[in-house]
Symmetry: C3
Subunit: 261 residues, 3 copies
């Protein structure tokens, strides 16, 4: 299976995924990146970003617990990523929940190129300019393949909208994925861990539309398998990590993915 | 059972619990809030606090890894909570261990209303003005229902003193709870997770004396059940989270609670 | 077994281990310290460092997610540790990966005494002045007992170089340890957790060469046992913590340690 070739590449080449992410999920994101076979680094000091990002394979930015200092680090990191041709995945956590988050995301999109924007329905609706989709950081309303395509066109990026059904578009190509588990909503940072997983696939495959599909499938199917053997959210999280580590070619036969045009 | 009605309410209405807490426990607190059925948000940037706290059902403040910036965020958040009638639960972690912590807690109590103050014996003794009860952030000495009542009167709040026996007082009503597990002391953030759980009950029941009892019972009984099936502290933490997620009406039959006057 | 006497001392006297460490591992480090039987505290505010460090048994410094504010806290903490005769364990995470890290570690070593420096091969080679050993925060090249001895002499400290084989030297005495598990590389913060464990042994044994051996053996053997019963990295981490908690005298019979004159 083609997806598996990129997972093997991750395990062999161990791409370096530079994270600037939120305090809540740093540990989970580092652990899932390692479980997948890639190499996470978490660093935000302005003085060392150039040394580190020049070595990175992907830059993952996540505004979950943003403040001025961290936003400045992310902007500098984004510009350095552009300089060194490092693809950027942006996770606009809580977009729509505060003006600060809205302004920060717009500022990012004007300051440096973003290869993939990934968010839940409410966040991505807000990004597209449709209000009322966000309560706190949780998504309330559905979103569709059309919104994903609209965001991809508007921001010259690949858009990933997560939910019961995931939608992916790079404006020319579109896909939907129907794997996953109800348990994802009962653990914190499932979206953030997914961001790390997609970033790892981007680290070995510069076709970020395909890399996003691969990341989503791997994460969602691992969650599906984990969900069936877990007594609750904490054992689910543990099993999810272990399933990611043990993920094999056969698991991709559960893929429910539709790719359009 | 009446306690269960509020747990059901949490699961149905998913109250939004705004956390400004310490780095060590953010992940655990977010996860236990989700496992219980409520919705956690963690954000501290001054610029977005009004947007977020105006939507919150409870504000949970915890000074575990405090510094000037975070203290300023907590003060602003506390004042906004007052403006928007959002109840505040304050966790004075390490009270008594440093002058900074003592001054910060006093500053909070003079700056905004606090619905519940929850700490261990040493912290609460220090708050009440009795020194020598704290070594680091761990409690050394016992404390009693009288101290809880004294704190409740002095600060016009509901006081929760945790330990082998938990004491609760809103000055008029008093209660003690004798559930729990020895294993709580071998995991970090058990008090902080309890803070998230009580905050979630406050999110659906504005009688914070009752909500505190419900939170304590749910957390302590889940711990009791988890303790019996765990090989050590890490499996205890996992089982605790899973038990919170699976908590049902029957579990409250283990409640060892005495309510006075 | 002599090692076990110090583990018993930890469990009885619960030494206070002051951590100033990185965001990614704070929770894991606190939990493993508690599982071992010691008492962790995590605090970085300049205003309270003297109150807290004057009570501490060991100071553990880790630069994993350093920035200016945290570096300033660590320097102040290091100087206070010197003032109060508290031994310092320094974990130069990512040494060699950026100039900022290199300069920070050198600055520390000029500003206060360090009892133990512990790092992986790449970090310790960089510290010794041999470049090219670091990719991100992971070690690429081997290092030897000679490097450990060289660092110990150069910086008047005890050097611990971790890897498949661990090397320890205080310049006069040298040792190597061949315990461990392949799984350590698939979880984040294994080196940081080890730092907490060694710091706890230093908290009860001021012969830091011996305390380092005891910490390494306890951590590595617990990992060996955990590795044999784990389905992946997340269950490994859980089992590791539980094994640390349940560690008994018999487990030290697995020790593969060689001490040289």
């Amino acid at each position: 299976m083609e997806y598996y070739l990129d997972l093997k590449k991750i395990r062999e080449s161990k791409p370096l995924i530079h994270h600037i992410t939120n305090y809540v999920v740093m540990n989970d994101s580092a652990n899932i990146t390692l479980a997948l076979g890639a190499s996470p680094i978490m660093a935000h000091a302005l003085e060392e970003l150039e040394d580190l990002i020049s070595m990175a394979d992907t830059l993952y930015l996540n505004i979950g617990t943003l403040d001025t200092d961290w936003v400045n680090s992310m902007i500098r990191a984004g510009k350095l990523a552009e300089k060194y041709n490092v693809p950027v995945l942006l996770d606009p956590v809580g977009m729509g929940a505060s003006e600060l988050r809205n302004n920060t995301v717009r500022n990012f999109l004007e300051s440096f190129g973003v290869s993939v924007i990934k968010g839940n329905g409410g966040e991505m609706l807000s990004l597209y300019g449709i209000n009322g989709g966000v309560k706190g950081v949780d998504s309330l309303r559905g979103a569709t393949l059309e919104i994903a395509t609209g965001i991809a066109e508007k921001y010259n990026t690949t858009a990933v909208i997560t939910g019961k059904i995931d939608f992916i578009s790079d404006s020319k190509r579109r896909a939907k994925i129907e794997n996953g588990s109800e348990m994802f909503q009962y653990i914190t940072g499932s979206g953030c861990m997914l961001g790390s997983v997609i970033s790892s696939f981007i680290g070995v495959n510069r076709d970020v539309f395909i890399a996003s599909i691969e990341g989503l499938l791997t994460f969602d199917i691992a969650g599906e398998i984990a969900g069936k053997k877990s007594a609750g959210p904490a054992s689910f999280r543990e099993n999810l990590m272990d399933e990611i580590y043990n993920f094999n070619e056969e698991n991709y036969r559960f893929a429910k993915v539709t790719v359009y045009g």
